[in-house]
């Protein structure tokens, strides 16, 4: 991947800041079971080309903040491999939030697409 300018990287980062919560909720809702951080990181990477933009390390603080907001449940379980694992599962409140955010995302995407198309139509 070509080296990006600082402001492009900043733009991507700002775009992802809100969307990462949406993506993580979607992953956990689709899984329908509890998952631990690394598992989620792998699942997010498999989502598509966006995987590379989204550093895996960034999901952990987002998971913690979603947990603090009550959108995710978490529990810690001792693991045979090294440190204990923290498992996350989506709560009912989280599903509701996911539903609302999807609506917000659809509106937003439509708005942005229209703005970009209008820009492209200009000579």
């Amino acid at each position: 991947m070509a080296e990006e300018t600082t402001y492009t990287r900043k733009f991507r980062k700002e775009l992802m800041a809100g969307l990462s919560s949406l993506v993580l909720l979607a992953v956990l809702a689709r899984a329908g079971r509890e998952m631990y951080g690394y598992e989620i990181a792998k699942a997010v990477k498999a989502e598509g080309e966006g995987g590379l933009i989204f550093k895996q390390g960034a999901i952990y603080p987002v998971l913690r903040s979603l947990n603090a907001l009550g959108l995710l449940d978490s529990r810690v379980e001792a693991s045979a491999f090294g440190p204990p694992r923290r498992y996350y599962a989506i709560t009912d409140e989280g599903r509701q939030a996911l539903h609302d955010w999807q609506g917000a995302w659809t509106d937003m995407r439509q708005f942005v697409d229209e703005a970009l198309l209008a820009g492209a139509a200009q000579p």
């Binding site: 590379l52 550093k55 390390g57 952990y60 090294g82």
Partner: protein
């Protein structure tokens, strides 16, 4: 982007992350290190064919460099208000003398001071009993298992005390037992980690220290509360019933003043002021104790 050479080992990576998080609250650093350690160990376990250095290079691509990760955690802590207590700026600058009445931290600290006698006695008894039984059992076959059980119980106690300190004093504390340092999972490696972890021993010292500290805290809290409320109550009682309970033989003028209504009102005001002073003292003690707990209970 990167500052200096990139880390080659898991340990070096964690160390770099810790440096990048410098200045954050100790609990946040512990959380971030635990998340990172969990991820890196999983990577190691999944790709054993890669060397540690090669793995770390790929990790920095996919997981992010220590500086990037530190930035994520900082922004998370900054945006999140609520369940995570924020690091407190020096309290005296933020509040006036009377505003302390609305500061939940002062009441939390007061409650902690009242509880600390009971917890302090328990911690001390448990630790001293455990230590002496460990020495006594050392010559027996059960000596080593007993010593290990005792060390494990001390680590659990330290965790519980950490939760108490975080709840009442608002200092971020670890939310889990200290993790094993590396990916090895054998029970012997875990035991070795627990015994070589400086935090195990500093926690033990903290639990012993809680007896004298608890006695002092409890005395300050009970004396302060009973003095201020006692004075308020006695003055109000005298005002209402007209009976005087204040006996000061050495100073007849004071005795006279305190049997008149203005004198008694003055006494009520003094009692209320004393209560404010107690709240200030409680907040100060809470702050100091938070620092002590941070130094002794949190592994960095």
């Amino acid at each position: 982007m990167s500052a200096g050479p990139q880390p080659q080992t898991v340990r070096a990576y964690l160390e770099a992350l810790r440096r990048a998080l410098k200045g954050c609250s100790a609990g946040l650093i512990a959380d971030a290190l635990a998340d990172c350690e969990e991820h890196l160990n999983n990577e190691l376990a999944n790709k054993p064919e890669l060397g540690e250095a090669a793995l770390l290079a790929s990790v920095i691509e996919t997981y992010g460099s220590p500086e990037e990760i530190a930035e994520e955690y900082r922004s998370m802590e900054a945006t999140l208000s609520g369940p995570f207590p924020k690091p407190e700026p020096a309290p005296s600058r933020r509040y006036g003398f009377f505003n302390v009445i609305g500061d939940p931290r002062a009441y939390g600290a007061l409650l902690y001071m009242l509880l600390s006698l009971a917890t302090g006695v328990f911690y001390f008894t448990w630790t001293v009993m455990g230590l002496s039984l460990t020495v006594g059992f050392a010559i027996l076959i059960i000596g080593i298992p007993f010593a290990l059980l005792f060390v494990a119980s001390e680590r659990v106690l330290a965790l519980v005390e950490g939760r108490l300190v975080e709840g009442l004093l608002g200092v971020r504390m670890p939310r889990r037992l200290p993790a094993a340092a590396s990916g090895d999972e054998t029970i012997f490696a875990r035991i070795r980690d627990a015994l070589t972890d400086a935090r195990t021993w500093s926690s033990m010292f903290y639990l012993l220290l809680m007896l004298p500290l608890g006695v002092v805290y409890f005395c300050i809290a009970t004396i302060g509360l009973s003095l201020s409320f006692g004075v308020i109550y006695a003055a109000l009682w005298s005002l209402v019933t007209g009976e005087s309970h204040v006996q000061i033989d050495d100073a007849p003028w004071l005795q006279h003043l305190l049997s008149t209504a203005p004198g008694l009102l003055l006494l009520v005001v003094l009692g209320v002021m004393a209560f404010f002073v107690v709240l200030h003292i409680a907040r100060g003690v809470g702050w100091i104790h938070g620092r002590i707990a941070e130094v002794l209970l949190v592994r960095l």
